[in-house]
């Protein structure tokens, strides 16, 4: 017992743990937003959008610019928060219509390679527009400080994220399970041809799904922007994390993405306490183990 308390002095520190758990949840939410978008797109179109991390990054950079342009203060921030994801959604729509449509019938490898190529293109464009320096987005006044939770400091901004989290999760659930569109989407993940045979415009649905998925990634990026350094290379970081999440949770599974995103968020949060480098290896170890035991993720479906 003593060995443990020596190695991990924080382990008996209840309040600290509580705060770490909460910040882990916040990080998990950002991941969830990106992952569920990627998972959704895969579930319907069977394409893994490797550029999803890039969408997240573009949204963060858009936040930087929007917050600069819009008037100071909370209103400007909120407006930016709404607009940035829309910008990304438009980007996603353009990509889907001009490029992805042409390759739906192609080998999955070619599709992957194509979206991989998008990473490079988008990355360079971001570099050209915003330059190589790190950027940041300042939080609105009201959320800039920290509150005390059980005596531990906790950034107020994360409270926003935690407050939004259930709203988002429930909202998504409502969309997928209580609207006609959501029903079509769920049907498409199960049997696309059937849906086409029933007269649904599947190609339009694909576009809608891709746009929505991109938008979700954009929301994640916009929300996360004030908490991290907005820099080139964030696309790769997010992408890999999203991979871990969707692989563990299973591509195409909403609940899977949620559970594993929170799990990964917590692991990262605690991993920093233990030993930063370890958290990455730990993540990958978990991913590898999950894949060996359940090759389609915890809640995923076997590939056709």
């Amino acid at each position: 017992m003593d060995v443990i308390t020596n190695l991990f002095p924080w382990i008996t520190n209840g309040p600290l743990i509580a705060v770490q758990v909460m910040s882990g949840l916040s990080v998990g939410m950002f991941l969830f937003l990106v992952s569920v978008g990627m998972s959704l797109i895969f579930g319907v179109t069977r394409i893994v959008n490797l550029a999803h991390g890039s969408f997240y990054m573009v949204s963060a950079y858009l936040m930087v610019t929007l917050v600069e342009w819009l008037p100071e203060g909370a209103a400007g921030f909120w407006i930016a928060l709404v607009l940035a994801p829309i910008g990304v959604a438009i980007l996603g729509g353009v990509i889907e219509v001009t490029l992805l449509r042409r390759i739906y019938h192609r080998d999955p490898m070619m599709q992957l390679i194509l979206t991989f190529g998008l990473i490079l293109i988008i990355g360079t464009l971001v570099l050209l527009v915003w330059g190589p320096d790190n950027k940041s987005v300042s939080r609105p006044e009201a959320l800039a400080g920290a509150v005390r939770i059980f005596g531990q400091p906790f950034p107020s901004y994360y409270l926003l994220v935690l407050a939004l989290a259930p709203v988002i999760a429930v909202g998504l659930w409502l969309i997928f399970y209580r609207t006609r569109w959501g029903m079509l989407v769920r049907a498409a993940t199960v049997d696309r041809e059937m849906l086409g045979a029933l007269g649904v415009d599947v190609s339009l649905l694909y576009t809608e799904v891709f746009v929505f998925g991109s938008w979700l990634a954009g929301v994640g990026g916009a929300l996360a922007a004030p908490t991290i350094a907005v820099a080139l290379g964030m696309d790769a970081d997010v992408l890999i994390n999203a991979f871990v999440v969707v692989v563990i949770g299973g591509l195409g599974s909403f609940a899977g993405a949620l559970i594993s995103a929170l799990l990964v968020g917590e692991l990262q949060s605690f991993g920093i306490l233990i030993f930063p480098a370890v958290s990455i290896v730990l993540l990958f170890a978990i991913m590898a183990i999950v894949l060996i035991l359940r090759p389609w993720g915890l809640l995923g479906r076997p590939e056709e």
Binding site: R102, F116, L118, I121
Partner: protein, 328 residues
């Protein structure tokens, strides 16, 4: 994990007749040997780099074109080879040739470890996991500053005196790369290669002629990693330094582009692709280096959409027309 074929025809590369091939070899060899006398040092450097990436891409194509497995994190093995060579030479004081000999072994071990997990997966997860493992290598190199020098890389990794001149190193590279190509060609035309191609075409059928598909793919993965490591090692001493971004996922894109440009289905495709790739890189870098990744991405997208067989694929192949078959 099949790399696709156009529906209405099957294009397989038909090798040039034996005599013409021999002639092509002799001419090519003569040209390669004579070049340093005619071109400037700058071009010799370019040629060395073409050879390196041609080897890397051919090793990559062993998996992609012949095995039907597209690895998205192959830069990891190149980097493992480069770093192994650099570390052994600099920190352990090994002579260059010994370090170069160990490099592919280290890369192969990495391929064995990662490959063990990766080959159990199909298509998409294979791609994702290979990408993720590639990033693991990058992150480890980046963060293990005490060993690898982190972001600063390892500098002053030079070959011994007699190989210091670009011309000398060029010939050295030709020899090593040439030997590797011979080996890869042997592999591809060996029973191992036949079985690998069979797995690519139809894994289920391959199982039912008695092939242990996973094990075979793992061996192919290790072989591919091995030769990628050779390329990395050669490059380390050529470049004089190694950096973490040798393993970055964007670098993994390069063999992919080379192979796509040159044509997936042919053995020499990657060589032609390497030539085209490096020439393009040189041109774009002269004009506006910042655009290079964008250009790279755009080329690949264009090739995928417009020209599925790559350029060499166009020249070399003979197309067999099929009748539409009932069974796919």
């Amino acid at each position: 994990m099949t790399v696709e074929t156009p529906a209405a025809s099957i294009a397989i590369p038909r090798p040039l007749g034996a005599q013409r091939a021999a002639l092509a070899w002799i001419v090519g060899l003569a040209v390669a040997l004579a070049l340093p006398f005619v071109v400037s040092t700058f071009f010799i450097v370019l040629l060395i780099e073409i050879a390196v990436i041609a080897l890397f891409a051919t090793a990559f194509n062993l998996l992609m074109g012949y095995g039907g497995m597209v690895s998205f994190g192959h830069a990891a093995y190149f980097a493992l080879g480069a770093y192994a060579a650099a570390l052994l030479a600099k920190k352990a004081g090994w002579p260059m040739l010994a370090a170069l000999g160990a490099a592919p072994i280290v890369a192969a071990i990495g391929a064995l470890v990662f490959g063990y997990f990766i080959v159990r997966l199909t298509h998409t997860y294979f791609a994702m996991l290979s990408l993720a493992f590639g990033q693991i290598v990058y992150t480890i190199i980046f963060k293990w500053t005490s060993l690898t020098g982190g972001d600063n890389g390892l500098l002053n990794v030079w070959p011994p005196e007699f190989l210091r001149s670009q011309t000398a190193y060029y010939y050295f590279t030709l020899v090593i790369v040439g030997l590797c190509f011979l080996a890869l060609y042997a592999i591809v035309t060996s029973p191992f290669g036949y079985a690998l191609k069979a797995i690519r075409e139809n894994p289920r059928r391959a199982r039912f002629i008695g092939v242990n598909v996973r094990r075979h793919q793992l061996y192919a993965f290790v072989l591919s990693g091995f030769f990628s490591g050779v390329a990395g090692g050669i490059f380390a001493f050529h470049n004089g330094s190694v950096f973490p971004d040798f393993a970055f996922f964007a670098k993994s894109f390069e063999p992919l582009v080379v192979v796509l440009l040159g044509g997936v289905q042919s053995f020499y495709g990657p060589v032609a692709g390497a030539l085209g790739f490096k020439v393009l890189e040189w041109l774009i870098s002269k004009w506006a280096p910042i655009y290079w990744p964008l250009f790279l991405g755009a080329i690949v997208i264009a090739v995928i959409i417009v020209l599925p067989q790559g350029f060499v694929g166009l020249l070399e192949r003979r197309t067999w027309r099929t009748r539409p078959s009932i069974a796919k």
